[in-house]
């Protein structure tokens, strides 16, 4: 017996994020570190809680170990609850089938029973790999007032990027008239953020009929939304104006981290009215040594800084030794940067060691060092390379 719910959330967190290269070799994209102490999925989970949505299914598939452990019982986000809370939904073996989630729609279809348990009026579908602060409760009341069958969160994107997104054409009252997934010649710059609110019964109906179509790729953008438009259902666009990034590539991840720097960063994380929550680790405060020099950087607890850090973002428990120089880089947790080494325009994944006197990267392109890699002292890793180390 669950109490009445106007909405529950389903977070799609199973994608590999292969364009993030070595960073997603061992972890799912939603579990990639961001902004020092966060992981990407913290934004979606915190948005849910801050919007009053306390029943959240997280659909996992690719490399779920770290993600599962990180979410745990959801206590970091106040999602450890008697009624609802966060539930991890991996692919499972059923009586007549046992296969992976095929597409976004198929993943939700396979968890229709989870949604039915709570009997919500609406279902909010989210991606676990976007960085933004958004009040879903406003979108939900917009959806309700409009009497929409489906509402899609949209954002205005630059023309040159438009063909990477699902592009919508809308009439003056935001009714969606056309939807095209990744069009070659985009008709507008209104892009889908991959955020959908559906009336539950309508969602079920379309998921079930889509599942019967053997030619369908079982994707919300490619199949479900076009099918709904074809049947003349009421689809509305909900325009969003804040900061929103899809950190799908090495460069966009690096840029989004850099957006946190400066006097007036484009994404403010220390916002007490909209807190982003993250998992708790018992590290001591940061220790800054006598020769340290830190300029325009974000540093997290457990770090020990004796060298120079400039325009960079450091996660927990990173050591920067005397004479080491880190600039314009993202350093993930538990990395050791030894004496006299130089790291420039790079992303160093967690647990790696940069040996003394090594040189990593140049300003021309972002260099990636994978997780738990030992870079030998004095090595020179050229700019733009993806270094996974000698280990398998």
């Amino acid at each position: 017996m669950y109490k009445y719910r106007d909405c529950i959330a389903m977070i799609l967190a199973g994608g590999q994020g292969s364009r993030l290269q070595a960073i997603t070799d061992k972890v799912a994209k939603p579990a990639v570190s961001f902004g020092g102490k966060y992981r990407i999925i913290d934004f979606t989970l915190s948005n849910c809680v801050n919007s009053g949505i306390y029943t959240v299914g997280v659909l996992t598939q690719y490399q779920p170990l770290l993600l599962n452990e990180y979410i745990g019982n959801g206590s970091a986000w106040d999602l450890d609850r008697m009624d609802g809370g966060v539930v991890i939904l991996p692919p499972y073996q059923a009586k007549n089938s046992a296969d992976w989630y095929k597409g976004t729609a198929n993943a939700v279809y396979k968890n229709i029973n989870f949604i039915k348990r709570y009997n919500p009026e609406n279902v909010l579908i989210l991606s676990g790999d976007h960085i933004y602060k958004m009040d879903y409760s406003k979108m939900l009341s917009y959806h309700t007032v409009k009497g929409a069958d489906c509402t899609i969160g949209t954002i205005d994107v630059p023309v040159e990027d438009a063909s990477r997104f699902g592009i919508l054409t809308t009439s003056e009252d935001n009714t969606i008239t056309e939807f095209e997934e990744k069009p070659k010649i985009p008709k507008s710059t209104t892009a889908s953020m991959g955020i959908y609110i559906f009336k539950t019964d309508i969602l079920f109906k379309y998921l079930e009929s889509d599942e019967k179509d053997k030619t369908s790729s079982n994707d919300f953008g490619k199949n479900i939304i076009p099918a709904m438009l074809k049947s003349n259902l009421k689809l509305y666009s909900y325009p969003f104006n804040g900061y929103w990034r899809d950190v799908g590539t090495v460069k966009s991840l690096w840029e989004a981290d850099m957006d946190l720097l400066g006097d007036t960063p484009s994404l403010e994380l220390n916002d007490r009215s909209w807190r982003i929550y993250s998992g708790y680790k018992p590290y001591p405060p940061q220790y800054i040594g006598d020769n340290a020099k830190i300029i325009n950087s974000i540093i997290t607890e457990g770090c020990e800084i004796y060298g120079t850090v400039e325009n960079s973002v450091l996660s927990e428990n990173v050591t920067v030794a005397r004479g080491a120089h880190v600039s314009n880089s993202i350093i993930m947790s538990n990395v050791k940067i030894e004496k006299g080494s130089t790291v420039e325009y790079a992303i160093i994944d967690s647990g790696s060691t940069i040996g003394a006197g090594a040189t990593i990267g140049t300003s021309s392109e972002i260099t990636v060092v994978g997780s738990s890699v030992d870079i030998f002292p004095g090595s020179d890793i050229p700019g733009g390379s993806i270094y996974r180390g000698n280990k398998s």
């Binding site: 206590s75 590290y283 940061q286 800054i288 950087s297």
Partner: protein, 376 residues
Amino acid sequence: MSAAGIIFSNIHDECISELTRVRTMASVPFGGKYRLIDFPLSNMVNSNINNIKIITHYNYHSLMDHIGSGKKWDLARRNGGVKILPPFITAYANRENSLYTTRLEALRSVSASIDEIEDEYVVMSDCDIICNVNFKEIINEHISTGADITIVVKEETLNQEQAMKSVLFIADEEKRIIDVLSFPENYNGRGYVWMNILIISKRKLMSLILDATAHNYNSLIQDIIAKRLKDENYRLFAYDGYFGRVRSIPEYYSQNIALTRSNSARELFLGKNSPIYTSVPETSSTYYGNSCSVKTSMIADGCSIEGKVENSILFSGVKVDKNATVKNSILFENTIVSSNVKLNCVISDKNVVIQAGRFLSGHETAPFYIEKNKMI
């Protein structure tokens, strides 16, 4: 063996009366993100002691806020967990039911709750000590030596002033206690100083409490331990890890500032896979601005630093504006240091705002303390 923990949150409050005006000794901030109770509490949890009672007296709102459900220490449990015991005063309170002042009186006042303990042993600790100690080892020794009480001490060199605020134990070669010096007035030099931690069986503890009630004993050390040295087996356990004690404001100040000199305190905070846990407000990481200069300091998350910080401890949410200089200071949560401010040997309590251009300085023997929520 199984053990329960008892923590005294208010004893010694008067040693640092400025800081305990609005809180208990237990909830006094320490080392950038901790409260003093985090040390005994985490030490107990790391020693597999999961049934912990915290005895309070007054001013315990801040303590209750900090402990919450005990989740951050893995103490939100169905079986055991952490429990705060406020003073137990019955209706028709008379003098006998009034608030306690000593450890023994405190135990007497909550004896019903202690009687409910089902564990065989009890570890008792105060909140004025800073250490990372494993009680498992001490309890094992307590059992194997057949001790009635095991007293945990640290061998230290004391000056006269420190000795006057300490309890010292003298033991024979087998570490059996043969003499006690409570707050000696003319002692200096090396000695075994009590860390305000002891181990006792639950049965023994209950009989002590009943005995104390019958005879109106008030001091555990003077009325009980000192008088029974010959008949009972009281033993020492000497701890040799990182140790700090808070007996006065200058000592509180120097224990904090000592953390900035080198990062040797990492051993204290992380132990051997025995971290000190705490509860802190949810903030982002710390931002170091374009014009900042930070040296030999310990800094929590959630700060924003544009000015100069040296040999200082910054708790979460501290803001240091451009051209401000913070030296040898301890700034509690959400302190705001505006531009062109100069601070030296200052302790600012929570939510203090120091307006532009102020110069404030204390001395390490008499740090300048600014009370909670004050604007200067």
